[in-house]
Every structure is written in structure tokens, then in C-alpha cells.
Chain length 439, copies 2
């Protein structure tokens, strides 16, 4: 329980931003409560690997308590936030009593957005949580299983067509990984699915892939992803998604597996704060990351609409969230010493995106890397930033093994199995429905 | 598709028995179809490690297709069996047309049985599938999370009491692993749960643990498990299980986490075959493993009621299933050469059970091992028998790491999260329900 004499910092969300804020307050004379609705921190940049059966969920997720266990001034609370009372300064929770704060750091991230077309969600799952990723994995693997025994050529083609919507880093990574899975990893396991049976189609609304990268790297990415066997459609305007496929530029693409990587919307923080939001649902913050100039609250990461020195909106990526978390911690410590922090200033150390086996692009402003050198850098950086030492080793070994053998070992179809039915009753029903075979 | 000229062997179930039969027919001039309702073979002896967050599901499961990919005479079918027509010799499936067979090998295993008390199931989950194991993992981890912030001492004690019902190998393994998890691995992560806050209670109906082992090893197991901090109640007669705990010998043990390891019942094969079954649901087979003396059908593994030379019932363990699978394959090959196979004879190479960190017992008839030597043997044997080379390395490293650090890294609470609710409406409701705090 927090000591009533020490200031209480409440952090909502243990993503990159929330964890950075918590760690930044390690030496501060405050009590910290970290609230998250899940028990684990998730290394989202590698979630697409779980969705494509390359890694296991536990490889990229660690219990929040475990990550923060050595920091004595922190309590971790598994709960869901329902609201914030700015006047009385407390957070309203689902299972626990309201929690009073002196400072509040909101770092609740984003979830996928269908731009008003929520009816598309059941047919085009996005990848934000472990459950999303294992569901997408299930969809991909089930489509392959069904295609193996589907006699109808049209239905078979739809089962073997994988459409990824969105040509940003997540979409490019998913397209590359699915191409590797469907064309290399599994072809020896199936009898009727060969290396060239599957189509992987990446739909991008804009006129190039990875629009946040320099044009040169976009062009290289396009070549690389086509070489992996994925088809890319630029200027693709998606107008409908249903159980049978995607309509883009008035052409229907029959597909049983559609993956959404096109857009996100911020968490509900703007509702909790009862303040305005931009079109992506983000809360407008001051240069010191305060919403509505409330000095007791910081909004950071994907939930904050924050501009850099040139008035450009900062992107929803891990480095921004981390630096903002560190900034919030420093600002609180400055205040405790009676000073005021300088405005937040984002330092861009570079952007990375991987395309697939041995291919990645890296943008460091002055210079760029691509191909194998980019991929080595990408692997190194991602293993380095993974929380928890055991996971780093585990992921490193898994990748090295996959690289040598082309195997993807986490190919499990789990969940949603119907319970066993009594055979006798079902048998009778089946015998009526099914043509009998001549023995 | 099977070649109509070659004999067709259908194997239902890709557990230890089904896989052994499939591999045993590698050089036979037959077409083989392996049917399973799941896409993966599961190494069930290590499932308790998934339930206690030591291993990830993918560490102990491999796609069946992948295990059998190099055997050209095999097709793998993901489907559910609804019945068998013995007269016309075909298998009735859920999603595919009926499948004709020349030989049929039924290796569909067992599931847990509550001895007629099916109402206990929601409160005392057994561990037979990956979904079972991740659900038990979730229950254990959620109980710890809730205990961390529970102010009421009685409710807190119930949250920190873990009851395991059944003192066979699975129950002993679970009790040891939960003791390690709740007392060692997580105590540094929580602020209000110490190494001695949790109670682990193992209830055994009989008068000793591991009744299938020699008495000397039962006694050693009892001492070892008590040393790990688990309480053992022998001659415990469980008469009720509900949401609040277990009643044994007319005493109620308040507990929010009860795990069932007390009994299994065979799969529905006896219903498919429309034949009798014993009290454990098993199909009586001849010395050549045929039910009802039907020479076209073999029933093997946990589904078969089969006695050894001395008239003793063979136990439901992996080595029996494997040897019976190999036998069925040999019997079919003998028949193809116009001969008849000798009756099945089980060779008992020994029994192993682990108790926890550095403790296991091994029974080889003439001599026994226990303590650290038994544990090293247990680890070596289990890593060796794990299907798939990558998994062997992965599990080996994970175990070594856990042994050195006491960490259990797969501590993820997944599934069943309520969707985000609109804050505004909920906020109003909450403000009414909750006492407001004074800021």
C-alpha cells in the first residue's frame, strides 16, 4: 500500500511508455502503482512472428511484476480503468477501490481501427494482442489445412489467398512472414499444397510501401517483397470486406484469410479525461505532455497527439513512447526538486522495418541500410530490446534455427474446439446427410 | 488421395500410439491416413509444465504433418470422427466424406473423468489438452494476482490455497511444480505474497502416493514433496467440489484453485464400435489387440483394455501406447506377407515420475533410482523422447535456465478478456457504486 506521506504516481499501461516511466522513477522518493488490464508486457514489434508461427507468445511477453520486481517503490495492479476524476485526483477501477494520485501517467496505447467500418472486424483481424496473434495464426493454419483436402478449385484458391491490408511496417512484415510460411516452411508437410500454390497479396492505399521511410527504401522494399512471392497492389482502395474476400478498386479478391494492418485508434483516454481528440482518437498534449494543461497528468505514447519541433506529428512507435515515458519521470523528479522540466524533445535514432528472411530496411536520416545488413541490424536491435534475458536467448536460438532450417515451430491450432459429442446420436444424423461409400 | 490398388490403413489419433503405428508402416506397401481433431501431436507427460508456466505450448507440441512429412505414404487429415461402419469398413468424419479402410487403428486416448460427478468439472479442471493447461495456468496466476490485493484474510487464504486431487504421477508433478511456482518463482514479484503465504495440498484417495510404484519409492516421494512445502493427505475421500473449495473426509478446504488429476476415461471408441466397455470406458481387445475379434481393427493405447501375460491390466502410459502402435504396424506387415503376428507382449522398461526441482523416482523392477540421480534420468529421458529436434534444444535450455534462476518464464494470463467498454456510461455507474475517496 502507498505510504500516505510520499507522493503517489499512478501509471496506467505497462507498454513501452509506461515501463520507461516506471523505471525512470526508480530513484525518486515516490510510491508508484502500475495498472494494466493484462499481467504481461508485450513486445509488440515481434507480435507478427507469433501470428505467423515463428515465435511462441511467452517468447515476446513477460509478467509486468517480474520486469519491475527489483524496484521496491512499485506496486503492480492487474485491473481495468473505467474513468478518471481529475478534480479529486483519482482513478476509477473495475475490481479495486478508487486510487488517489498525485501524478498520473496515461500510457494506454492504441488498438486497431477500421475507419468506421467495424463490420469488417470479424473478417479482417488486426494484430495488437497475444489473443489476436494466436487467432490469426489459427486462421492461417486452418486455411492451409482446409485447402489440402478441398476438391473445388475456386474454394481452394480462396483458401490459399492471403490478403494483408496496409503497407506500413506491420503489413510488410506480415506479408513477408506469410510468404515464407506458406511457400517454404509448410510445403513439405502437405501433399497437395506446393511452394507456389499460395497467393499473398499486400494492399496499400498510398502510392508506395512504408510511406514513413525515404522513397529509395520504399522501392527496395517493393522489390524485396515481390521476390519473396508476395503481390503488391498500390493505390488500392478497399471498399468492402466480408467472409468471401476483399473488394479493392471495385475488384473482388476471393480470400478466406484477410489481415488488417491498416490503421489504429488511440485508447479511451480522451473519454476518461472528457477532453477532445483528434481523428485518430489521440489526446492533444502540451509540449510538456500535459492534456488540458493539467500539470498532474501526462499522456504519452500512442495515446498522445504530440508534435515535434517542426510541427510534425510524432509517429506511434516504441521509441517515441519510451522517450516520453522517460521524460514524464524526469519531469516529476524535477518538480520534486522544485524545478520545471524543459519541454519534451524527441530524438529520432532511426527507423527499422523487416521484410522477411535476410531482408530489412533501416533509415537513419543521413544514411540508410537495406538487404542483409539491414536484417542483421534489425535482428540485433530486436533481440537487444526484448525485455527479460531468458527471452533474448530463446528468441535468438529460435531465429537462428528457423534461418537454417526454414522451420516455423509454433504452428499450433489452439482454442475453440467443439467438445466431443456423443457418437450414437451424431452418427445417425451423419448417415442421413452423407452419401455412403461402397465398401 | 489413396491409391485404390494399395491397401489403405486409417489411423485415428496422433498420440504416442498412433504415431508409432504410422512410423512402423514406413516401409509397408500401403497408403496411410492419419486423422486427428487437432493439428498437433502433444507430448502429454510435460503438459503439467505448461500448466505451471515452466514451458510454452509450442515447446511440447509439433504439427502432426511436420512430424510425418518425410513419410511419403502418409496423408494427414484434420477432422473429427463421428462413427465407424464396421460392415462397410469406413470411418464417418465431420468435414470430409466417409473414408474407406482396409485396416483401422484406433488410438484416441483418454480424457479426464469425474467418476460421475461431472458437476465438479468447472471447479477442478483436469489437464489433458493445451487449452486445459493454459486455463489452469490462468487460474493459478489469477489467484496469485487477486491474493496480492485481497484485504480479507479468509478470502486471501482461499486464493492462496491450491488443492490437487489425485496422488498418481500427474498429481505429484503438479503439486511439486505449483509449490515451486508459488513459493520460489513468484515471491519476489509480489509485494504481499511471501514464500510461505501459499498452501499446496495434495489429496490422495489411497494410502500412499504413486501406487503403481514400489512402496519404498512412494515413501521417498512423500518425504520429498513435503520438503518442497506441499501438504499431503492420504486416505482422503473427496465428496464435494464447488466454487469455494473441496470437501474431503467431511472437512471443507477453502480454495479457489482446485486441479483434477484423479482419473481418466477412455475416448468414445466403444460407442463408434458399438461394443462393450469396462468401467474406465475402454474397449476390451484380444491378445492381438482386435476388438470383437475383428481382424481389420486394432484398438491401442489408453482406449484399449489389454492385459499382460499375468492377467494384469496394462496402465495408460506412453510406453504401452507406443509398443502397441508398433505391434499393430508389424501385424499389418505380417498379414501383407501372408503370415500372422504373434500375440502382443508388453516389455516394461521402467517407470518414471518427477516430484520437482532435482527430485524424481524411477522404477526398473530390479533396481530403483530416486533423488537427484532419478531427476537427471527423468530430464534426459523426457528431452530425448520429445518429438522434433528444435523442441529438444529449446526445452533443454529452458529447463537449465529455470534450474539456475528458479524463474518460470511462461507466466502469461491469456484469453477471455472482456472488451473495452465505453468509459462514460460505465463511469457514471461506477461513481454510484463506489465510495468516493477524499482527495
Amino acid at each position: 500500500m502507498p505510504n500516505p506521506k510520499r507522493p503517489h504516481v499512478v501509471i496506467i499501461g505497462a507498454g513501452f511508455g509506461g515501463l520507461a516511466a516506471a523505471k525512470g522513477l526508480e530513484r525518486a522518493d515516490v510510491d508508484i502503482t502500475v495498472i494494466d488490464k493484462r499481467n504481461h508486457h508485450l513486445f509488440q514489434p515481434l507480435l507478427y512472428q507469433v501470428a505467423t508461427a515463428g515465435l511462441s507468445p511467452a517468447d515476446i511477453a513477460s509478467p509486468i511484476r517480474h520486469i519491475l520486481r527489483k524496484q521496491a517503490n512499485i506496486s503492480v495492479l492487474l485491473d481495468r480503468v473505467y474513468g478518471i476524476d481529475r478534480e479529486k485526483k483519482y482513478v476509477i477501477l473495475g475490481e479495486h477501490d478508487p486510487l488517489a494520485y498525485d501524478w498520473l501517467i496515461i500510457a494506454t496505447g492504441a488498438r486497431h481501427s477500421y475507419f468506421g467500418n467495424d463490420a469488417w472486424e470479424p473478417f479482417a483481424r488486426g494484430i495488437k494482442t497475444i489473443e489476436d496473434a494466436t487467432q490469426v495464426r489459427r486462421n492461417i493454419l486452418m486455411a492451409l489445412e482446409r485447402a489440402e483436402t478441398e476438391p473445388d478449385p475456386e474454394r481452394r484458391a480462396a483458401l490459399l489467398t492471403f490478403v494483408i491490408i496496409g503497407g506500413g511496417p506491420t503489413g510488410v512484415e506480415m506479408a513477408g512472414a506469410i510468404a515464407e510460411l506458406a511457400r517454404k516452411s509448410v510445403s513439405s508437410d502437405f501433399r497437395n499444397i506446393g511452394a507456389h500454390s499460395s497467393r499473398i497479396i499486400l494492399l496499400q492505399r498510398g502510392d508506395r510501401l512504408l510511406p514513413s521511410f525515404p522513397e529509395k527504401l520504399s522501392a527496395k522494399t517493393l522489390t524485396a517483397i515481390q521476390k519473396l512471392g508476395a503481390e503488391v497492389q498500390l493505390k488500392a482502395n478497399v471498399t468492402d470486406i466480408d467472409a468471401d474476400g476483399v473488394t479493392a478498386n471495385n475488384v473482388k479478391i476471393p480470400s478466406k484469410t484477410v489481415i488488417w494492418a491498416a490503421g489504429v485508434t488511440a485508447s479511451r483516454a480522451s473519454e476518461w479525461l472528457d477532453c477532445g481528440r483528434d481523428t485518430a482518437g489521440r489526446v492533444q498534449v502540451s509540449t510538456r505532455l500535459h492534456p488540458m494543461n493539467d500539470p498532474a497528468i501526462f499522456v504519452i505514447g500512442d495515446t498522445a497527439a504530440c508534435t515535434d519541433g517542426n510541427g510534425l506529428m510524432l509517429p506511434g512507435v516504441a521509441p517515441v513512447a519510451k522517450q516520453q515515458g522517460e521524460y514524464a519521470a524526469k519531469a516529476i523528479m524535477a518538480h520534486l526538486r522544485g524545478r520545471e522540466a524543459e519541454p519534451f524533445c524527441y530524438k529520432n535514432y532511426g527507423n527499422l522495418a523487416t521484410i522477411g528472411r535476410s531482408q530489412a530496411v533501416a533509415d537513419f536520416g543521413r544514411f540508410q541500410l537495406s538487404g542483409f545488413a539491414g536484417w542483421v541490424l534489425w535482428c540485433t536491435a530486436h533481440i537487444w530490446f526484448l525485455s527479460g534475458f531468458r527471452n533474448r536467448i530463446g528468441v535468438g536460438i529460435t531465429w537462428l534455427w528457423s534461418y537454417i532450417t526454414f522451420e516455423r515451430n509454433a504452428r499450433l491450432i489452439t482454442g475453440d474446439f467443439a467438445p466431443d459429442l456423443p457418437a450414437t446420436r451424431e452418427l445417425a444424423a451423419h448417415l442421413k446427410q452423407r452419401p455412403t461409400v461402397e465398401a
